[in-house]
Symmetry: C2
Subunit: 196 residues, 2 copies
């Protein structure tokens, strides 16, 4: 019996802390963290294949045309996408894969991979999200306001996901995500349990 890995999608509004949660999850459980592709310029210290796959717009569009992305979108003039090939390679080798992507991207992946397990990281309250986004201090008030408007819409989509993990404390959220990963590996539909 050849065991197929499980595809997990971690999503949630900007500022909810999904990156922090995921980093701690991956300290405690093995999974391949998918690397995105982008057409934007590498920043100081960023490495191709580690932080991003840096593609020209031509390469990006060619990959998209060949259905080579699980999801892709354009933000502020740059293209971003999740290349399907490395994900499928890991899954076939029996390793679980985690995609950390924004909410619209997560909806797109669901259409292509309905078997993916989708986890929505939610803030304990909208006020808390507001506090976290404002607290960053890296953006002007108008930019924060735009993020909050987007977040408000995204939170209405949460019930469409498989799981909602409320990021009340990082430890609790990490524990919930780890429990979901462990539980999903016990799903009867995946187990292919055979009497020997």
């Amino acid at each position: 019996m050849s065991k197929q890995g499980i595809l997990f999608i971690l999503t949630g509004p900007s500022g909810v802390g999904k990156g922090t949660v995921l980093a701690k999850v991956l300290e405690r459980r093995d999974a391949y963290l998918s690397v995105s592709a982008t057409t934007r310029e590498p920043r100081e210290g960023e490495k191709h294949g580690v932080n991003y796959y840096f593609l020209t717009r031509e390469q990006f569009e060619q990959t998209a045309a060949q259905n080579g992305f699980l999801e892709h979108a354009e933000f502020s003039g740059n293209c971003y996408g999740t290349p399907a090939a490395p994900v499928d390679e890991q899954l076939s080798a029996g390793r679980d894969v985690v995609l950390e992507i924004e909410v619209q991207g997560a909806m797109q992946v669901h259409e292509k991979r309905p078997e993916a397990v989708r986890i929505f990281i939610a803030p304990p309250s909208f006020a808390e999200l507001e506090k976290r986004l404002t607290g960053r201090g890296t953006e002007d008030a108008a930019a924060v306001q735009r993020r909050l408007e987007t977040a408000k819409h995204e939170l209405t989509l949460a019930p469409q996901f498989d799981y909602i993990v409320v990021n009340q404390t990082v430890e609790q959220a990490v524990s919930d995500v780890l429990a979901i990963m462990q539980a999903e590996s016990c799903r009867a539909a995946r187990r292919e349990y055979q009497i020997i």
Copy 2:
């Protein structure tokens, strides 16, 4: 928002160790362990409402006629059943409930309560189950043989359950069941997550 408890069904063939696993699970997570009703005589030290609800056959049949059992069956001339009322009381109060029942009973509960989360505890191999059942030494060879025949059939039903937990070691099985309970409480369909 009034939170409803989750109904978990733990099942598996005789001898697989579900009682041992469940006892350890309940040391580490709160849940109401459902008490069965039976028409058999109480044994030395058994208490009504603790080990079983001891009913007369008339009381049992009346409850069954009123649809008061989540499942019931007759074994060796005695009736056994899971009374619905205490289970529903706990669920309404927001407490999770665990039923530890045999496989046919678990199938019956699913018909009445399709929302119940059904966990099948499976042996690592059939040979291992054989060893455990023989090792008990409390029954003659013919009785063990009958249990094994039943177990063989029950194992073919495992894929119909939500989760299969292989009882390779008790610690791993306990950890898997706890993860399933934690993950299920994060299910979007149950969360009723609201933006505040």
